[in-house]
């Protein structure tokens, strides 16, 4: 019996997070518990409100942030048509979700682990910290463009050690890259590094990891149609140059096994 399924659940709450230029740019979508006790950190769900009709075809993929016997929480940044419409759903509305999908982050409770998050790439780490057996071994380095309170950073650093850098001007980027390099080097010996963020951010992490011999996993956020490995629209190239599905073979890949 597979743990995965597709069902309609009710929206329990839509909670705006932080203050940015437009209210509702960041929000938590709290859904009725779909009965997936066994989800693993780094896994995601496809979400498609029933109210969408055919004008938006695909569900949208989001990482699982929190989940307990009552609810499943996703953390969403509004970027386009789908997330805009998603920010407008109302409590009580039916949402179709399928999952839990994809593989998961390596969880090594005894290993000092560095999480590198860029912007909304922080989302899968919520679930990681929540499900990790030894959060005292975790450090979160967070690079962001929006004010810090737009992200669930404070809640996460209650459990894990945190450090953040705001990229307000183009010059700040150099500092962020230096800091990433130094941290990855620090974790190269006997540590584990995990990364999720914009592709250039993950590429930089990949370059440092290969240079310093660090064990790095990256979480990819490719566009998806089906989420179940069937349409081949979400692929990336593996180390042999073959197209491989991010939704089922990923979204998490060892950095030396994927072309970014």
């Amino acid at each position: 019996m597979s743990l995965r399924d597709c069902r309609n659940v009710k929206v329990l709450d839509v909670v705006p997070v932080g203050q940015s230029k437009r209210p509702g740019d960041f929000f938590e979508l709290v859904l009725e518990y779909p009965g997936w006790g066994g989800w693993k950190p780094g896994q995601f769900v496809m979400v498609r409100p029933v109210s969408w009709g055919p004008e938006l075809v695909w569900g949208r993929p989001f990482s699982i942030c929190r989940g307990d016997e009552k609810s499943l929480t996703l953390f969403v940044q509004r970027v386009g048509r789908g997330t805009e419409r998603l920010s407008q759903v109302l409590p009580g509305e039916d949402v179709t979700i399928w999952g839990p999908l994809g593989n998961s982050f390596a969880v090594e409770p005894e290993t000092p682990t560095l999480m590198l998050a860029g912007g909304i790439g922080i989302a899968p780490f919520c679930g990681y910290i929540e499900r990790h057996a030894a959060p005292e071994n975790l450090k979160l380095f967070f690079a962001h463009r929006m004010p810090l309170e737009c992200y669930p950073y404070a809640a996460m650093t209650q459990k894990a050690q945190g450090q953040n850098m705001l990229e307000a001007q183009p010059e700040d980027l150099a500092g962020i890259i230096d800091q990433m390099g130094a941290l990855i080097r620090e974790y190269a010996d006997g540590g584990l590094v995990l990364c999720c963020g914009p592709t250039p951010f993950m590429k930089t992490a990949q370059r440092f990891a290969l240079e310093h011999g660090a064990r790095l996993q990256v979480s990819l956020e490719n566009r998806m149609a089906c989420g179940v490995g069937a349409c081949l629209g979400c692929v990336c190239k593996d180390e042999k140059g073959h197209h491989t599905q991010v939704c089922t073979k990923g979204p998490i890949f060892w950095a030396d096994k994927v072309e970014l």
Binding site: S2, C226, G227, A230
Partner: protein, 305 residues
Amino acid sequence: MDMNVSVGGLQLRNPVMTASGTFGNGLEFAPYGDLEKLGGICVKGLSLKPREGNPMPRIAETPCGMLNAIGIQNPGVEYFVRSILPSLKRVDVAVVANLYACDADEFGELAGILAAEEGVHALEVNVSCPNVKEGGAAFGQDPSQIARVTESVKKRAGNTPVMVKLSPNVTDIVECARAAVDGGADSLSLINTLLGMAVDARNRRPRIANVVAGLSGPAIKPVALRCVHQVCRAVDVPVVGLGGIASAEDALEFILVGAHAVQVGTANFLRPDFAFSLADDMAALLSDMGVESLDEYRGSLVLPL
């Protein structure tokens, strides 16, 4: 209600098949429903040699539809026969192999390999390869080529039924349908995707690396319905209708204009369990309308005098 149908020698428990390229090899959808509730599964397009497909990005969402330029990524026919078909065979459902090649001989060779396999119940011939030898026009746009390819596949298919899948990107789809029938097609399926394009006004780039791509989904249903209507009136072989079906009512519209069966494509992405209940929903809707059988309803469209 008895929903059994026969489509040119292919026996189906109900008229709902899943469309090639939108349902993987079927097994990807097993967690979401009972595959044996389906009439049939058309697997992802197969070629003689493995294909990596087109560069990324290769899908884009458009109003009521989507564009894709996957480029028939597939592991090749040998891998399919050796590593996928054995698992599919354990499922009691009609399996239709979708064939992709760039000349008539290659189509014939593919047909020979697949028709020899016990678990393959029919062949669906995808004639939309841009044929470089013939000056770059797609195969499926040239009736004489369609006839040649169909003949070549028929010759090697033995008793396995052959369905030819037509492209709507032509001036006269009836002419293409007749060519396939002349070539020996046991049935036809239509339509494949419509050529389309999407660009990003801000960064001035196409949204698909291949620039042009295939449009599918509810947006194309009116075109699909028109094609099925025209072809059903012109040929004697059974027709399978597809293009934008996203509800039982949509599916019945295709039966109404004359289709024997339907295929569900892009709607599998609206939710992965969509296709599993479609046949039951169609039966319920027919009962509601006081219709007693599919045969009675098929082709019963009332046209203005």
